[in-house]
């Protein structure tokens, strides 16, 4: 963009003054610790034992670690399961609450409550609801479906955790979509309506193109978050990650390997580095897909 050129005469240091607080905080508390993690990933450091340089040994060990592959699989599945739902459902919800009909502000805030509640609270609530004798199961039994082991089956557990992630994320992304929708000129819809387009057509031909960049943003944000999922699975499947640890996600593995007084900090750092690398790749993939479509 050429525009900034036109406003260029300014005190030379002021841009840095603007950026300094942010850079300082992010640098000291995020980037610097992360660089340490990078360094540690090449050592055999443990929580209370300083490490020695071990080269790529940690990364080689990863390749033969079944748990690593389980974690990678689950985190990847989580992205595949959660991201489409979080791109589409909140958009539909935003369309539902967009019209200013009476009481709509109440509904909007109500839909936002799961976002407001802390993940810990949410975990407690859902574990209690999905318990074998919890509310959901006794309702299922009443309608004749019978009890379902949401919290005991490896795949149902993962699905339940995904459902909770989506449940908690709906309101968050709904807000982002609401803002985007407010920018869609009403005339576009009206024009389409006059042309005889039904609601579905209008959704596909007017709404979706208009909020496309927001959808990409949501896809990027939610896929990064989904790949790094920890709390939901940890709370619902337990610290061990479900039956035989089969529901362990990568970040859970980082936590389990590296924490506590006997934590293998070096190895866990190597895992963190992998998580970081995949996240960056995911982000690039989403942005690339976006650009590809534009072409």
């Amino acid at each position: 963009m050429a525009a900034p050129l036109r406003i260029k005469r300014q005190l030379a240091f002021s841009p840095w003054l603007f950026a300094a607080p942010g850079l300082l905080v992010v640098g000291a508390f995020v980037l610097y610790p992360f660089v340490s993690t990078l360094v540690n990933s090449f050592t055999d450091r443990r929580t209370l034992v300083p490490g020695r340089f071990v080269g790529l040994a940690n990364f080689r060990e990863l390749l033969h670690d079944d748990m690593f592959w389980t974690g990678l699989r689950n985190s990847a599945l989580y992205v595949l399961g959660v991201v489409p739902a979080l791109v589409v459902l909140p958009l539909l919800l935003a369309l539902l609450v967009q019209k200013h009909i009476p009481g709509i502000t109440f509904f909007r805030s109500a839909f936002y409550t799961p976002v407001v509640a802390s993940i810990v609270v949410v975990g407690l609530i859902w574990v209690w609801l999905l318990d074998e004798r919890g509310l959901v199961n006794s309702l299922l039994e009443t309608v004749g479906i019978g009890r379902v082991g949401f919290l005991s089956d490896q795949w149902l557990l993962l699905l339940s955790a995904m459902a909770v992630t989506v449940w908690k994320g709906l309101g968050y992304y709904m807000i982002i979509y609401l803002a985007a929708l407010a920018n869609v000129p009403r005339e576009l819809h009206e024009a389409a309506a006059v042309d005889g387009a039904g609601p579905v057509r209008r959704f596909l031909s007017v709404t979706v193109p208009a909020v496309r960049s927001t959808m990409v943003l949501v896809a990027a944000l939610s896929s990064v978050a989904a790949f790094k999922v920890f709390s939901e699975v940890y709370l619902m499947a337990g610290p061990g990650g479900g039956p035989a640890g089969e529901d362990t996600t990568l970040v859970m593995l980082v936590q389990r390997t590296g924490t506590g007084l006997t934590g293998r900090v070096g190895y866990a750092s190597a895992l963190s580095v992998v998580v970081f690398a995949v996240t960056v790749a995911l982000m690039l993939l989403v942005l690339r897909a976006d650009r590809g479509e534009e072409r």
Binding site: L151, S152, F230, Q255, T259, A268
Partner: protein, 428 residues
């Protein structure tokens, strides 16, 4: 809640800084000599005790400060979850309190890092005040020394649901006494209830193997050995239970807490517990309380399992005499006794268990449970090896789960678990 949650991945963490630098800034601390004058400000950290016992600890500290003018004790209590994470952050950051509530498996890594005072040196004179077994529980294989004062002990009976026993055609007054009876009753219960009522809610843990008579480590303490024929036998029998749904299907994911809930809701017929649970049953499941049966822990060894808590003295404390004196004060016979009367735990001091409080029946269930537990404690064992870390527990749990699901044979599963634990042990 949940959370040691968020991971502390703490680990992952990395400190570029050498540990010594973060260790303790400049004050490299403390002497091991506890003979000086008892004075100064110290910090005392407990593990999830404030909510229930605030007045007790405040009184305790006031007594100590009164007895030793010039001392000041600051009490901090940490939540139950994330305790190990908190300790490791403090240990790495050099902010470990002076007197710290630990369990043996937490004391071991701290001792190895040189952060725990060797009490055989600094507090040898107090040793006769404690039960031998309790004093020895904070020894670390491979090191000479004892790294925490023994504090409270806990053990408890096995509770069972008489109504469920009756329904399955079992005699509610004849609970299982041996493993054979336990497994037979479990299978019968599952059969009669069509798989709806399980007898046990937990998969076998390391202490279950110990109680079954499996040798957990080799004689030298250099490697694990629970993959012997006996261990395989126990796991094979659990698999039979699991296949018959006599072991709760959710056991593979269950935590101790949800197992307790299952017992409360009548989904599971037996659950280990302590005298503390009786009050909980009374309040949360009155119908269960009317049908509660109480029996002894089942063992093949004749020694029940006990849990031990200790008080570690930070080796870098600036006030070694005060810290040692305080840790001893909290764990001495008088104060342990008054703590025991507040809650269903047991003192680790010699002779305390002969107190009438632990021997005289008064007709209530609580007292009956307490007396039985106190009696069994005299030869109880803390089966969990001191070096059995959190990571090893996870490895064992996962392998056990694979065996129960039939993905591996019990022998393969235990071989893998031993291999993983040995590897972690060597790195440790």
């Amino acid at each position: 809640m949940p959370m040691s949650r968020r991971a502390l991945a703490a680990a992952a963490v990395a400190l570029v800084l050498p540990l010594s630098a973060c260790g303790s800034g400049g004050d490299d601390g403390g002497s091991t000599d506890a003979s000086g004058k008892v004075e100064g400000d110290i910090t005392f950290q407990t593990w999830n005790l404030r909510a229930n016992f605030k007045p007790y600890f405040e009184g305790l500290i006031a007594d100590f400060e009164h007895q030793y003018p010039g001392t000041h004790v600051k009490w901090v209590d940490q939540p139950g979850e994330g305790y190990a994470d908190k300790l490791s952050a403090d240990a790495a950051g050099g902010t470990l309190p002076d007197v710290v509530n630990v369990s043996p498996d937490l004391a071991a890594p701290l001792a190895k890092a040189g952060l725990a005072l060797d009490l055989d040196k600094a507090a040898a004179k107090y040793r006769p005040e404690y039960l031998d077994g309790a004093w020895a529980s904070h020894r670390v294989p491979g090191m000479n020394g004892t790294y925490a004062f023994p504090w409270y002990l806990n053990t408890g009976p096995l509770f069972y649901n008489k109504a469920l026993f009756t329904k399955a055609g079992l005699d509610p007054d004849q609970p299982p006494k041996t493993y054979d009876e336990l497994f037979a009753d479990g299978l019968r219960m599952a059969e009669k209830s069509d798989g709806k009522v399980a007898t046990l809610a937990n998969v076998p843990t390391i202490e279950d193997f110990g109680r079954y008579g499996v040798p957990l480590m080799n004689k030298q303490g250099t490697g694990f050995a629970f993959n012997d024929a006996k261990g395989v036998q126990l796991l094979t029998r659990y698999k039979q239970l699991y296949d018959a749904k006599a072991l709760d299907p959710q056991a593979l994911t269950a935590t101790g807490e949800s197992a307790g809930k299952k017992f409360l809701t009548g989904a599971v017929a037996m659950n280990p517990g302590s005298a503390l649970d009786l009050g909980n049953f009374k309040k949360n499941a009155p119908s269960l309380y009317r049908n509660i049966g109480i029996t002894d822990q089942i063992t093949s060894t004749g020694h029940v399992n006990m849990y031990v808590m200790g008080l570690m003295v930070n080796s870098r404390t600036r006030h070694t005499p005060a810290a040692v004196a305080f840790a001893h004060f909290v764990t001495d016979a008088r104060n342990q006794m008054s703590f025991a009367k507040k809650v269903a735990i047991f003192p680790s001091t010699a002779g305390s268990l002969d107190d009438p409080y632990f021997t005289k029946e008064d007709g209530t269930d609580e007292t009956r449970v307490r007396i039985a537990a106190a009696k069994s404690l005299k030869n109880a064992v803390n089966y969990t090896p001191v070096l059995f870390s959190e990571q090893m527990k996870t490895a064992l749990r996962n392998e056990v789960a694979k065996a129960l699901q039939g993905k591996e044979s019990p022998q393969e599963a235990l071989d893998n678990a031993v291999k993983a634990a040995d590897r972690l042990l060597q790195q440790g």
